[in-house]
């Protein structure tokens, strides 16, 4: 059993309620921070911890906090990004549903560090039942003196509000989220200025993911240095992984980032192996936008070394032979799955979610969807594969926000690693609609496992 810092108490009966959370040691970190530490000292601990943003980009959280502008007389805000929408990702939902007070405590400590007197949780609209859970926790925290005016007699005031989105993946991008919080369409802003200088209502703003803010609680409890000792290299602490697809035990797991990908997939402590005794074909290890890897490159790097579940190891080999940790949305495909069809559904997703501001993304995602649909349904041409490659290349890096990249990468990686499956579809237009290509020779895990 690995270290559990976030989900340790998730199974305790009644942990959603204030009494049980408090009895189990909850709000100890908040007490420590507010009573014994200056705001900057809290930021310093988060810096020392090496905590990286858990939303997908992996940017060091403490450094992000230190960029926050603090002009005299202008209020600052912390915004919690709970717009979890990256296909394959459902870890923040788990945290909010089962450990709402852990998030509220993390928000309180972080608000104190950043000087935010009004903090907002922006949650995806479809998680429609979760605001009730969060508001209940906020009410309990307030009734017990953890929110409101002059908290613990420190003179610090803090209110936390929950805002539901309206259904738009793009609002997970921080500037689109800010626009949405202001009651507008979720069109990302051009940076600079960065939110740390001009964010919501033109005020300095920090936007952090749910899991990132929850992790502040164990960091303050144990100290940044101790937290940094868990994990490996620049992958410090623990990470929540939401695992789904063709595995025996889909769900949310907390890992310390020293376990191998093989252990994560096959161990009963985690995914419990591939469902129905099938073989592993491919995996998207960090949410739908990161490159898909065939089984052989997933379990071992191109150099033949064991691949681990951490930021560095998952990206070993760059995009040529590696992938990314991303949001921790771990999608497993067995030998019966069709990579072309899977890529088509993801292309359709990104076309649906493109905000339409930038032409390469607005037009390109539509083209990719159409071409992939054709190939998947046996109407593709051989030249379509190169055309797809060309389109994704022209989207990547040419848009205001990273949605363009997120749409391009899955298509690029699918062609890079499964080109023969695409070609098979074109060459076998009738057969490809009645059966799948199966396990490609290069994707046979038995060649690399054991």
């Amino acid at each position: 059993m690995g270290v559990k810092l976030l989900l340790e108490k998730a199974q305790v009966e009644g942990i959603r309620s204030y009494e049980v959370y408090r009895r189990e040691g909850g709000y100890r970190a908040a007490e420590k921070a507010l009573k014994t530490m200056a705001p900057d000292a809290v930021t310093e601990e988060v810096k020392k911890s090496g905590l990286r943003g858990r939303g997908g980009a992996g940017f060091p959280a403490g450094m992000k906090w230190s960029f926050l502008a603090k002009p005299e007389g202008i209020p600052r805000h912390l915004v919690c990004n709970a717009d979890e929408s990256e296909p394959g990702t459902f870890k923040d939902r788990y945290l909010m549903e089962f450990l709402p007070h852990l998030l509220i405590e993390g928000l309180l400590i972080s608000s104190y560090a950043l000087g935010s007197n009004a903090t907002y949780i922006y949650i995806r609209g479809e998680y429609a039942w979760i605001p009730d859970i969060l508001e209940q926790a906020i009410g309990e925290a307030k009734a017990n003196g953890w929110l409101g005016k002059n908290i613990l007699g420190t003179g610090f005031d803090c209110e936390i509000y929950v805002q539901r989105g309206g259904g738009a993946y793009i609002c997970g991008e921080e500037t689109a989220l800010i626009e949405s919080l202001e009651g507008k369409r979720g069109n990302p802003r051009i940076k600079p200025p960065f939110p740390a200088v001009k964010g919501v209502w033109d005020r300095p703003t920090v936007v952090n993911n749910v899991e990132t803010l929850a992790a502040v609680v164990p960091i303050i409890n144990m100290g940044g240095d101790e937290y940094a000792k868990i994990g490996v290299g620049r992958s410090t602490g623990t990470k929540l992984i939401s695992a789904c697809g063709n595995i025996n035990k889909p769900g949310v797991f907390e890992i310390d980032m020293t376990i191998s990908v093989e252990e994560f997939i096959y161990s009963d402590e985690y995914c419990g192996g591939i469902k129905n005794g099938k073989r592993l074909k491919a995996c998207i290890p960090g949410g739908s936008s990161v490159p898909i890897l065939p089984a052989n490159l997933l379990l071992k790097t191109a150099k033949g070394e064991t691949r681990y579940m951490n930021y560095e190891s998952l990206s070993d080999g760059g995009f040529a032979t590696g992938s990314m940790m991303g949001s921790g949305g771990f999608i497993v495909l067995d030998e019966d799955q069709c990579v072309v069809k899977n890529t088509y559904t993801l292309a359709r997703f990104y076309r649906h979610e493109s905000c339409g501001q930038c032409s390469p993304c607005r037009e390109g995602t539509g083209w990719m969807e159409k071409i992939l649909k054709n190939i998947d349904s046996g109407k593709g041409k051989m030249s379509d594969i190169d055309l797809l490659w060309d389109i994704q290349r022209k989207i990547e890096g040419n848009t205001i926000c990273p949605l363009g990249d997120a749409a391009a990468w899955p298509v690029a990686a699918a062609i890079r690693h499964f080109r023969d499956e695409f070609e098979w579809h074109v060459k076998n237009p009738q057969e490809c609609v009645t059966r799948n290509y199966g396990l490609a020779h290069y994707a046979d895990p038995l060649e690399v496992v054991g």
Binding site: F90, R164, G166, G245
Partner: protein
């Protein structure tokens, strides 16, 4: 005529109070959700009413209502089945579930049953990938769907609607 009850108006005031003075436009998404709860969908009249409540131009409401996928711009059935079809759900069998619902309700995607009871929609990832196939029905998710479970859900909806009438 579109007019919120006093209870809903109190809620609107509570939402507006979350934001700084003069930034009441921030309340737009939550207030649209509230309006949809009351009226089932957002007619132009409803959107104009929301604009007047927040003291913003009607166009500011239209552009938001048309951007986000959760706002219904035309009437929908009493129960809306929004079935996820993105990658993780697809590899876990969502296509078969969508086909089954179509056949059971005798409608296609985007259609409503003649009795106004059910609307079927396909949607993109709802963040329930580990519990696929799944759909959203109103405020809640229905997960680990099987044909049997779909039958049960349809029957429960009919029962509930019968009791209400």
């Amino acid at each position: 005529m579109v007019q919120f009850s006093e209870e809903k108006m109190a809620k609107v005031r509570e939402i507006i109070a979350r934001y700084p003075e003069g930034k009441q436009k921030s309340a737009l998404l939550p207030v649209l959700h509230l309006a949809q709860e009351v009226y089932g969908w957002l007619s132009s009249e409803t959107m104009d009413y929301v604009a007047s409540l927040l003291q913003i131009e009607p166009i500011e409401v239209y552009e938001v209502a048309t951007f986000y996928s959760m706002y219904n711009l035309k009437p929908v059935g009493k129960y809306m089945f929004e079935v996820c079809q993105t990658g993780p759900c697809m590899i876990s069998g969502s296509d078969a579930i969508i086909d089954y619902i179509k056949q059971r309700l005798g409608i296609g995607v985007g259609e409503t049953t003649p009795d106004g009871m059910f609307t079927l929609k396909t949607v993109e990832c709802l963040g329930a990938c580990g519990y696929a196939p799944m759909m959203q029905m109103g405020k809640h998710y229905k997960e680990h769907l099987t044909p049997e479970k779909v039958d049960q859900i349809i029957e429960d909806c009919r029962k509930q609607a019968g009791q209400l009438n």
